[in-house]
């Protein structure tokens, strides 16, 4: 017998009603039960007339393999909630989310003719969708389902109060049953789907996303602010880990993008307005033409928007580490430009007519900044994050220098080395073998760059001072001819788009995904996807992967004729609405709620009407209606009132006298 069989067998045994002790199950106890039942009924408005409740609600209580049942007395919960009017069955299962658990629900819907279902288990964020699916498989509308959280918000939070946790579980289920009493079957909202994508940004991520979408037959508008495709890659040399040149990569992708009939590329163009919703975004694009005086504006409706807006390289402040104060202090992009401008035959490296014999590379410039150590940037923020790509870039460039110019000494100043990707650690070991000298500093005491005193200037015009952790904190001075700052990535300047599209950014200022693991390229606005470094520092490999993922997500969205969105939007009951528009004044979303003329009994009247595609379901309109004519689907006011009633109503006596202990 397998483990799960054993569990199941145990479960079915436990399904049997537990025998009461002889003394307790006497007539008195049964009388108690009758009274309790009556008491519960009295608290329920629909059963006040004594009519049999028309609802057939199934309640399922999950043990969660002990996570719940070790604290909550799930059997007593089941026995008690069975008394709630409208509850037809109440069952306990070890894992309701398992296949047998879900099967039990869909089976019961068919066999017991259930018309509402409650599952009391873990947080709704884990399994609400799971159980809506199970309910739908049983032929029931999935929105006649209610989820009760008795793990995160009962058993785990009240471990030392099992009586209290049990009572809470019962009350929460009573609330959910109350909510279901007023529940209405809902359908996902269907909206027309414009099968065209707008990709903002013609760098690596944008080109990749556009090419992938186009290869699946989707029309793409690729909008690039600059004069050519390729973005930052146009300034780079060889890229890790393939050691191909960036130019090759750009050429290859540009070729694909420009020759694909499904892709229209707009250079020198900006997206200036975005409104609407998934499947139906209205966008405006402004383009500059050859003579900068010529401008044109186009309005395009698209179904999905891919944000491939990229990053801004960190630019040190004037004087920071002597940047812009000494000619031989360069940022990494400037150094890469320098190296690629040197002819391959040149054996000596010179810059500003000066021979370069020693180079220092400084890590984490503009990244992993600390309060009190670094100065905040122009935006008032510290870049506390790691830019992720600088370590490997520095090692790659250091190695390139050592190989091309064996006479040049290379010094590397780091707080630690983060060569995290496939093939990247090789750069570290190769750089070590090639004679790169490493210094390690504590993040709170980063290295400083000074001008070398004139008596020692022959050693190099610049001196890097560092408290070196590898030699137990010795203060070291290294004279060099050139300092290369391993500058990181900053969020792109897209404040206008962020505001218009209501996108979320993280503390770091980059665009924020819904969930880093479960929904990594989606944002809270449906139909908008993230590709590449708009979301945070990424290397080329990761950027391509993210862009590919965004393209796949968009493709999946376009697979349907219509887009389906959740039905939790406001709805007006035209029979109650008087067209007074109090609700309209509360709505912050243009076009989501407005007055329309309609004919009622031969008379033309004004009534509020919701545009389900534009309504975000905040409910600001609901509170102000003097006629209770507007409600949020799935979150109706009468549902909330019923939940409170369920929670607040006194519990009935437990059905069996052996359990006649205070559960208050």
């Amino acid at each position: 017998m397998s483990n799960s069989d054993e569990l199941r067998a145990k479960h079915y045994n436990e399904q049997e009603p537990r025998p009461c002790g002889e003394a307790e199950c006497d007539e008195e106890a049964h009388t108690q039960q009758q009274i309790a039942l009556a008491g519960w009924q009295a608290g329920n408005r629909l059963r006040a007339d004594g009519e049999e409740d028309p609802l057939r609600i199934g309640v399922y209580i999950c043990r969660c393999g002990g996570n719940i049942s070790d604290v909550v007395d799930v059997e007593r919960v089941a026995e008690t909630v069975r008394l709630i009017p409208g509850v037809t069955i109440a069952k306990v299962h070890t894992f309701v989310c398992s296949d047998p658990g879900q099967h039990m629900i869909s089976n019961d819907i068919l066999e017991e003719n259930l018309d509402r279902v409650v599952v009391a288990s873990c947080t709704p964020f884990l399994h609400e969708q799971t159980f809506r699916g199970a309910v739908a498989r049983g032929g029931m509308n999935p929105y006649l389902y209610e989820h009760v959280n008795i793990r995160e918000q009962a058993s785990w939070a009240h471990k030392h109060d099992p009586e209290g946790a049990t009572a809470k579980a019962i009350r929460m289920i009573a609330g959910a049953v109350g909510k279901l009493r007023y529940a209405q079957p809902l359908e996902q909202i269907k909206l027309p789907n414009h099968r065209r994508a707008l990709v903002i940004g013609g760098g690596l991520a944008g080109m990749k996303a556009a090419a992938d979408l186009a290869s699946r037959g989707i029309k793409v508008l690729l909008v690039e602010a600059g004069t050519r495709l390729g973005g930052h890659l146009n300034q780079w040399g060889k890229v890790y880990p393939s050691e191909r040149t960036a130019a090759e990569l750009v050429a290859e992708l540009t070729q694909r993008v420009q020759h694909d009939p499904n892709i229209k590329v707009l250079l020198n163009s900006r997206v200036t307005a975005v409104s609407g919703f998934i499947g139906n975004f209205k966008t405006a694009i402004e383009s500059r033409h050859h003579s900068a005086s010529m401008q044109s504006r186009a309005e395009v409706t698209v179904g999905a928007i891919i944000m491939a807006t990229g990053f801004r390289p960190y630019v040190p402040r004037d004087g920071e580490l002597l940047y812009h104060s000494q000619p031989c202090v360069l940022t990494m992009p400037e150094f890469i430009q320098l190296l690629s401008s040197v002819s391959p035959d040149t054996k000596k490296l010179t810059y500003h007519q000066q021979a370069i014999r020693k180079i220092a590379f400084l890590h984490c410039v503009g990244s992993r900044q600390l309060d009190g150590v670094h100065e905040p940037g122009a935006n008032g923020r510290l870049n506390t994050y790691c830019s992720r790509t600088c370590c490997t870039t520095i090692l790659q460039q250091a190695l390139a220098v050592r190989r091309r110019f064996p006479d040049v000494e290379v010094f590397d100043f780091n707080q630690d080395i983060r060569t995290y990707g496939r093939g990247e650690e090789n750069y570290y070991s190769e750089a070590s073998k090639a004679g790169v000298v490493f210094f390690r500093y504590n993040g709170e005491e980063p290295p400083q760059v000074h001008r070398t005193p004139s008596r020692r200037i022959s050693n190099g015009a610049l001196t890097v001072t560092v408290k070196d952790a590898l030699t137990w904190g010795q203060e070291l001075e290294v004279a060099v001819d050139m300092v290369v700052l391993g500058t990181g990535m900053m969020p792109g300047q897209i404040e206008d788009l962020i505001g218009q599209m209501k996108l979320a950014t993280g503390e770091d200022g980059f665009l924020q995904e819904v969930h880093p693991k479960l929904r990594p390229v989606e944002v809270a606005v449906n139909g908008v996807l993230l590709a590449g470094t708009a979301q945070g520092p990424m290397n080329i490999t990761e950027t391509l992967a993210a862009a590919g993922a965004a393209a796949v997500k968009a493709t999946a969205m376009f697979a349907k004729e219509d887009v389906e969105v959740h039905p939790y939007v406001a709805q007006v009951d035209p029979a109650l609405c008087h067209g007074e528009a109090q609700c309209v004044t509360q709505c912050a979303y243009e076009g989501a709620l407005k007055l329309v003329e309609m004919e009622v009994d031969g008379e033309i009247v004004s009534r509020a009407e919701v545009n389900a595609g534009l309504c975000v379901g905040c409910g600001a309109c609901v509170a102000v209606c003097p006629h209770r004519a507007i409600n949020l689907n799935g979150w109706r006011l009468d549902q909330f009132e019923a939940m409170v009633e369920g929670i607040a109503t006194d519990l009935p006596q437990p059905p069996c006298a052996s359990e006649l202990v205070s559960i208050h």
Binding site: N149, E152, Q153, H158, E580, A588, S662
Partner: protein, 165 residues
Amino acid sequence: MTGPFVPKILVLATEKCAYPGADAVGKAHQEYPSNVYILRVPSPVLFPEDFYLGCYNQGIDGILIAACGSDCPYHGAYERLAARIDALTSHLSAGGLEIERIRLTAICTVCIKAFLKEVAQMSDNLHRLGPVNRALAEQLHRESVQRLRATARSPQFVPALQGAL
């Protein structure tokens, strides 16, 4: 079955912030009193004033509105909510119901300490105040519904709210 007074606390927790925040408390196996009931809401801005008074009338002793604050995903909803709770507070105060029974706060998805602190504070306050005066709450509820009805510009009879009276 009567014991010492155990207040019933209702937490209206926003789906995007405070509800996952309350989950985080449980996931961290931090404990708080079991008489705290958490309702998931898109935004508490949807509740009219009479909803809160109705809760007191039902025997809820204290209500903690755990919102998203400045992280509110809905445009302007938090500001509207704050204004609505301000109005409620002054009506409570004018009607003689203790204003400590309502509190608006922001709880984020990982605000475990803030959640525990808010709940403990509300619990302390309610133990000091004792059970809510349900009869008074019922009266204030009725007045609140009348105030809302009075905003109707149409002279017609208002059937939908009739049940609430």
